[in-house]
């Protein structure tokens, strides 16, 4: 490979994932394309069922098969296709070069192991440290994520910590091996706002310090605008819009993105009536011929019902999947 300065760290090309269910085949992701560079922070936003979490699981090689299957496309991490790797090969990447923070710190930590040991585990596995060194490194990591009295807290069990502290432990664990990419799947959704602000600041700072890229998955557009450089908007497994964060919020094109931004209650001087998007997210087993958003779209035209629009670049680095912009 030639050494370009702006090399893509991760490239997702034409990714299609489907799940078999009793009601038929569900396409969770349709022809998804995106890339992430070193230090870049990408946000994936969407409502429930839009396929944002499936995207993150596929990058970690965690799509359960069966029922899930990657039917098409590739996920290139530093030039290697993750989809084609064997289990033992992917285990060397998972938790080491790409790691993940999950939504609920209560359920994603092991309740019968101490916090310190859970962090040390990945250091022993990936970095070949002995237990003693790994444990003392874990204490340092706990200190770096702002856990008070890290030495004693390392010996405590998850249930002895508050929600915010548990999420700090998760972050310490995810960053233990200094990964190149951190995937954060709704990292602050279960937390109170004042704690959310602490955790977002911490995540931002640590990733800046170590040049870590972030893929942030969330339904909260506010969180995205505080963390990310680039935003991908998903709906029923399709990318509807993709742009730089500032561009997306100031100059969004897709009716869904616009609707989403306007339907969030904001604190403004005068109260106003919230703009709503009519209808609801379609059932994933439902087959929609044309654009998946047309049943809820106020600008829907004849063509929207019949043909799926392509994702096209309407402006530099601003992609939209909509017939209005053809």
């Amino acid at each position: 490979m030639n050494k370009k300065p702006e090399k893509n760290l991760l490239e997702v090309k034409n990714l299609t994932i489907q799940f078999k269910s009793e009601e038929g085949i569900v396409k969770a992701i349709n022809n998804m394309n995106f890339s992430i560079k070193k230090k870049e922070k990408v946000g994936i936003v969407g409502e429930s069922g839009s396929g944002k979490s499936v995207t993150s699981l596929s990058i970690m090689g965690l799509i359960p098969n069966p029922p899930g299957e990657i039917t098409e496309g590739e996920i290139l991490f530093k030039g290697n296709d993750i989809v084609k790797l064997t289990n033992s090969q992917i285990r060397k990447i998972r938790g080491n070069e790409i790691s993940m923070i999950f939504q609920e710190p209560m359920t994603s930590l092991n309740p019968i192991l101490t916090c310190g040991f859970q962090i040390a585990e990945s250091l022993m596995l990936h970095k070949g440290m002995n237990k003693k060194n790994a444990l003392s490194r874990a204490v340092k990591l706990l200190e770096s994520v702002g856990i008070p009295d890290p030495k004693n807290n390392a010996k405590r069990y998850p249930h002895q910590l508050s929600g915010g502290m548990k999420q700090r432990v998760m972050i310490a664990m995810a960053l233990a091996c200094e990964p190149e990419i951190l995937i954060a799947d709704e990292p602050t959704t279960a937390l109170d706002v004042t704690i959310q602000a602490q955790i977002l600041n911490l995540m931002n700072k640590l990733c800046d310090d170590h040049d870590t890229s972030i893929i942030l998955i969330t339904h909260d557009l506010g969180v995205v605008s505080e963390v990310c450089d680039k935003v991908i908007v998903m709906y029923t497994g399709h990318v509807l819009e993709q742009a730089a964060t500032k561009e997306l919020f100031e100059n969004s094109f897709h009716p869904y993105t616009k609707g989403l931004i306007n339907s969030i209650p904001k604190i403004t001087k005068e109260k106003y009536r919230l703009q709503e998007i009519k209808g609801m997210v379609p059932n994933p087993t439902e087959k929609i011929e044309g654009c998946s958003f047309y049943p809820r779209c106020e600008f829907a035209k004849e063509i929207c019902k019949k043909e799926k629009p392509e994702l096209i670049e309407v402006q530099e680095n601003h992609f939209v999947r909509c017939w209005l912009y053809r």
């Binding site: 409502e47 602000a197 600041n201 505080e226 500032k246 209650p265 919230l274």
Partner: protein, 322 residues
């Protein structure tokens, strides 16, 4: 604004007894601590706070779903402490509640029409024919098609289930509805629909809401006045414009600052609070917020500030505010 008081909460306390164990040395938890405020007719009073601050307990105590330890609730000129069971049942018709999780608050084995008509059966307000008519009316009012009434809750989406919850709450023509995190489990696009629906219904049926939520944005958009709660205490009550222009309490200010704002890019100098919310069973002495307050003074550690009227309709409990 119409200033007739509908609900008056006076010096309300709610203590829960805790079992003393090795892990938990505390025997009681003050979930609601000396709370006093009024809710006026046809207004929406928002109640915000973080998890564990007692906002749901307060909502349920106001409805007497939980008996208060001390203090009283005057609902529609009736002191709920002093009435008999029979009178209480009568009063219950006028007060309803909508819960957070629509899947958990609808009986999975009942059809939608059975769920909505149940309050009318319990209170014997209508005969079968009248109930059927009312169910159709209510479905129409909350924006659900009539064919949904023979369905079961699991066949509906989250937003539709919440509409059923609202229809059930309206079945007895109540005056007052406690909305306990009524839109928190919904996706944003659906959340906006339900908020707008609730605002419309309020006008149509002259309802009074106590709107409980952890989300200040939502509370702000729906409320006429907002009460902010921290560890069982009301720390500030203000109209929405007072809140926007001149929030006084450091906790309210930090709540406002902590909310990630859409389109507001990477701002650094936010007023981010240090530390966690203390254990409510072992709440700090004095002002309960002093352990996290950036402006805490010596007096805050010993003396609990009273909720005082700072300007018209604007109450603050803070030693900084004179």
């Amino acid at each position: 604004m119409n200033r007739d008081v509908l609900v008056s909460v006076r010096n309300l306390d709610k203590n829960f007894k805790l079992k003393k164990t090795k892990a938990n040395p505390f025997t009681s938890l003050k979930a609601v601590d000396d709370v006093t405020f009024n809710i006026y007719k046809r207004e929406t009073l928002g109640l915000v706070g973080e998890s564990g601050c007692g906002k749901s307990t307060l909502g349920r105590t106001i409805l007497h779903l939980i008996k208060p330890t001390e203090g009283e609730i005057i609902f529609d000129d009736i002191n709920l402490n002093l009435i008999s069971k029979k009178e209480m049942k009568e009063a219950r018709k006028k007060m309803q509640i909508i819960f957070q999780d629509p899947s958990a608050s609808l009986n999975p084995r009942k059809r939608i029409n059975e769920i909505i008509e149940e309050p009318m059966i319990i209170h014997k307000t209508q005969d079968k024919k009248g109930r059927d008519k009312k169910v159709n009316e209510l479905l129409n009012v909350v924006g659900l098609d009539a064919y949904h009434k023979k369905r079961y809750p699991h066949e509906l989406s989250g937003g539709q289930k919440q509409r059923v919850g609202i229809a059930r709450a309206l079945a007895l023509n109540p005056k007052f509805i406690v909305c306990d995190e009524a839109v928190s489990a919904l996706d944003v696009s659906v959340q906006a629909q339900v908020i707008n629906l609730m605002k419309d219904l309020q006008k149509q049926f002259n309802l009074t809401y106590l709107f409980i939520s952890h989300n200040l944005n939502v509370v702000y958009q729906i409320s006429d006045r907002v009460a902010v709660m921290y560890l069982g205490k009301i720390v500030e009550i203000a109209t929405y414009s007072q809140l926007y222009e001149s929030a006084m309490h450091p906790y309210t200010k930090s709540l406002l600052a902590s909310i990630p704002k859409v389109g507001d890019l990477k701002k650094e100098s936010k007023m981010v609070l240090k530390g966690d919310v203390p254990n409510p069973a072992n709440a700090p002495k004095g002002c309960k917020f002093h352990t996290r307050c950036p402006f805490a003074m010596d007096v805050c550690k010993v003396q609990s500030p009273e909720l005082k009227e700072y300007s018209k309709d604007h109450f603050v409990a803070c030693h900084l505010v004179k």
